[in-house]
Amino acid sequence: MIEKLIFGYLATAIIGLSILVITRRNPVHSVVLMLILFFHIAVLYLTLNAEFLAAIQIIIYAGAVLVLFLFVILLLNLKEELVVERFVGIWPLGLSAAIAFAIMMILSTTSFVKGPEGNIGVDIIKSETNTRVLGKVLFTDYLYPFEILSVVLLVAIIGAIVLTKRRLKS
């Protein structure tokens, strides 16, 4: 029961915060609300036996991504944002698309059937700690995607540099 209450709180907070995030006029407010949202998601991860991910969520999202966002927002100097229209002209269409999508998702996920269970249950995670189990899996079964990820990140670095840093040749 207590789990459900916690979930209830988290879910309400996540949804409420996310709606606030997308409706705030001031992007800085959005980012700050987003930060709070990320914390809630991290907590949710904890309830799902994913301590490592909870930590990563905070470290990467809150610590890196959102800071980057803030940095860019400040760089771009967004004073006019406070006075101009928030939504695009066709927002009703977008909203209806989203609502339609939502209805469709609800309808189709009611019949959701869980797949076959694996062998890494809560007990194993508890005994070995989440990080270790994750690490083991990551560096054995998922070594290959992990390596690809490293290339992705490399590309991201190159990209960020290419797009922003270098001056043009004359």
Partner: protein, 100 residues
């Protein structure tokens, strides 16, 4: 025990909200944030699936998603900055030089 479907719906709700934000907001940063919301929605479902299926793949995938999201953020913001240098606007609906 919280039923799995609750998580799915939470994830779905977050996905939809992110999608709505993406479809409605003019500000490029907010759109970007909306995408992050959508990815987080996916992450929630992945982690919960992992938990319910007693499998680590969900968490591993979440990890990858977070990393890729970071990479995307880096590139996306780079593009925004590059664009901002040429055209001082963050409103995506003003970027319609090419159409038709």
């Amino acid at each position: 025990m919280v039923p799995l479907n609750w998580y799915i719906w939470l994830s779905g709700a977050l996905f939809i909200i992110g999608m709505a934000g993406f479809l409605m907001r003019r500000n490029i940063i907010i759109m970007f944030i909306s995408i992050e919301l959508m990815l987080n929605a996916v992450n929630i479902s992945l982690v919960s699936f992992g938990n319910f299926l007693k499998d680590m793949a969900g968490q591993v995938l979440t990890l990858f998603v977070i990393a890729v999201a970071a990479a995307e953020a880096a590139i996306g913001l780079g593009i925004i900055i590059a664009l901002f240098r040429n055209k001082a606007t963050v409103h995506v609906d003003e970027m319609n030089e090419m159409k038709g």
